[in-house]
């Protein structure tokens, strides 16, 4: 344990899994929460400052990198940055074409590129040793600081719910309200006596999608973070590398895989919303 002997293990773990929350105290004043109980009392109108900071600044990093790559693009011998940007764009383009086909849509490929790079960068923060940044902020007087935005369900569920709204939007736009309603009641069993059953089934299916979509990303990253924190809590600092290094190497597989899966599921859900010519 790097922070000295005054904390117990479970206090250490709980400290590292707590976000920095800004909201209204129970006495009416606004400020940062000093403990987990205070954060809980703030209720709905509280904001996770560390999550917002890291996700927005990583989004900026993504934008700057790709804008710089696009501005310096040449038709001659490409440099490293241009190579990287072209590889990312081509990879996403191939995946979108593979799943979505060649339907007309100007949104889905840029959305997929944003999702895959942004989620990848947010997942990548997991490889920063767990005590580096929280201890640095602790020295500056900030009680809690969590640096991996995707270990906060607010981020992952926020993204998956946004995708869900896009799915609803395209369902209404492509199929029309009547076509969408018809699909909701006729889909698995196209017989009039089964319409209520179909409707319940389709509604559950609809609502389970954003939930599992967001929770999958959150669960993977949260699990990884908890295991890193456990290693840091259990072992003295000179032995930690024996466990955290193999786990980090395994995690190098998980980080791009989960961002890729998040992107593929987004494309699959949006492609389902675009399916019209089905004959049952």
């Amino acid at each position: 344990m790097a922070s000295g002997g005054e904390q117990t293990t479970s206090e250490y773990i709980r400290h590292h899994l707590q976000n920095l929350v800004y909201g209204q105290h129970s006495d009416g004043s606004w400020g940062f929460a000093g403990s987990a109980e205070e954060a809980e009392q703030m209720g709905f109108w509280a904001i996770h400052v560390d999550t917002m900071f890291w996700s927005i600044s990583l989004g900026m990093v993504f934008l700057w990198t790709f804008i710089a790559g696009a501005k310096r693009a040449t038709s001659g011998v490409p440099g490293g940055l241009q190579n990287f940007c072209e590889m990312a764009v081509e990879f996403v383009d191939d995946t979108v074409r593979g799943v979505f086909g060649n339907r007309q849509n100007d949104l889905i490929a840029p959305l997929s590129l944003t999702i895959v790079i942004w989620v990848f960068l947010m997942n990548l923060m997991d490889l920063v040793p767990v005590d580096f940044v929280p201890q640095a902020f602790h020295a500056m007087g900030v009680p809690y600081w969590k640096i991996v935005p995707t270990t906060d369900p607010n981020v992952t569920l926020g993204m998956s719910v946004s995708v869900f709204f896009l799915v609803l939007f395209y369902n209404f736009r492509i199929k029309g309200p009547i076509g969408f309603g018809k699909r909701m009641v006729t889909h698995p069993i196209p017989h009039w006596s089964m319409y209520p059953f179909n409707f319940v089934l389709e509604t559950v299916d609809m609502l389970a999608k954003p939930l599992s979509h967001g929770l999958r990303l959150f669960g993977n990253l949260y699990a990884a973070e908890v295991i890193f924190i456990l290693i840091a809590a259990m072992l003295p600092f000179y032995l930690q590398w024996t466990l955290s290094l193999p786990w980090a190497i395994f995690h190098i597989l998980v980080i791009p895989l989960q961002s890729f899966i998040f992107m593929v599921l987004t494309i699959v859900y949006l492609a389902q919303a675009h399916e019209t010519d089905e004959h049952h």
């Binding site: 699990a223 908890v226 998980v254 895989l257 890729f260 593929v264």
Partner: protein, 75 residues
Amino acid sequence: MEQSLIFVAAAFMLGLGAIGSGIGIGVLGSKYLEGVARQPELQGTLQTQLFIVLGLVDAIPIIAVAISLYLIFAV
């Protein structure tokens, strides 16, 4: 008493999650090898699909691991 119940719950979560995903990933891997043995030229495509499904199957046990470890050490 409560602490030992938490241990039992965590053991169930870890064990059952590992059994389910182990069977799933075993079936997945064997089918993948069969597919590649039949049509080696499809290996690239199949590998991508394999990793997608692997990531989907992988999620549940790893979430169970996280929750059970959290229950054991932090609650």
